[in-house]
Symmetry: C5
């Protein structure tokens, strides 16, 4: 799980059929002080995270299996918490 800052969203028309109706966000890993570190990750947001919000991102796909109603979906990362400001 990573501490990230939301850096933008992604629109994708050509995509895996199970990925319909989800919101993909670009999430930049940051340190406790907010410094950028390492490569961004793409995660699905179901919590309503805004641009520049700090979020907790998981790489565990079980939640996406549930949200997308598909045991076969390759969609994996998701936002599991919005950090209080």
């Amino acid at each position: 799980m990573m501490l990230c800052r939301v850096d933008g969203n992604i629109t994708s028309t050509v995509k895996h059929p199970t990925a319909t109706g989800v919101r993909f966000l670009i999430c930049q890993p940051i340190t406790a002080d907010g410094a950028e570190v390492g490569a961004p990750t793409v995660a699905v947001d179901t919590l309503g995270a805004g641009l520049h919000a700090r979020v907790i991102v998981t790489t565990d796909g079980k939640y996406m299996t549930e949200v997308l109603k598909s045991d076969k979906t390759p969609v994996r990362n998701s936002i599991i918490g919005i950090v209080d400001q």
Copy 2:
């Protein structure tokens, strides 16, 4: 899942028997601004991503299990979305 830019394709004659007929692409992780960051990943493309296209790459292998019709395939990463331009 990573935001990547397609940097090239790979041709491989000597390979795992389950990897027949798939298109391997070199995918370079990038930031929201397009800056390169970290090591490239190799992913299978089934969506028709072109050179320099921006794509979402998953490390979840379930889709490849389905595409390659093999529960035993070690092929894992795939492109699950092409980012709209």
Copy 3:
């Protein structure tokens, strides 16, 4: 598993329903000499690790499945040991 230093805690009101009542800590990977290296990870603490404590963090989610009493929780990383001082 990573050797980390606890750099802070995270409070999150809007979060995944299975993540209730857990303590999320920001854990910075360090070398044997204590130098920071790489991106921090977020892990659940059940052992009572204090700020600046050195800890062992796992990315294996089985313990969280047990603690949170949910086979479907996407919460994954946890502290599995506090390093003796």
Copy 4:
């Protein structure tokens, strides 16, 4: 999966009992242009990759489970393709 260059082989006498008779190679991740990037990975070779060959390395352990005839082997990474020259 990673694009790597074979940088050497490893001989190990003291090892996990399931790892008998396998060839471990040091595989350095590279970019499409051949530049080194990130930490090397150790992978089992069953395809006959030579020194300096470019290869595709997977972190999926299913193939090793099959090759080593053990559901319990912790051996995981393997070379799944040699890049054509």
Copy 5:
């Protein structure tokens, strides 16, 4: 799997109950030439690796499940080979 150099051991009194009686080592990833690269990993040693030994570390937890006699242990990484000198 990673090529690592053993940089030290960790003693931990407060830890997950399944982690009793194991030896945690700090393992620094290195290149084929011995240069340090990336963040260290913590791995369990059952092979008797000494300080500064070069080892192969796996992130696959199946061996630990067996050693610790627990399907629920979150202990994961282990040393699966000591590199011959």
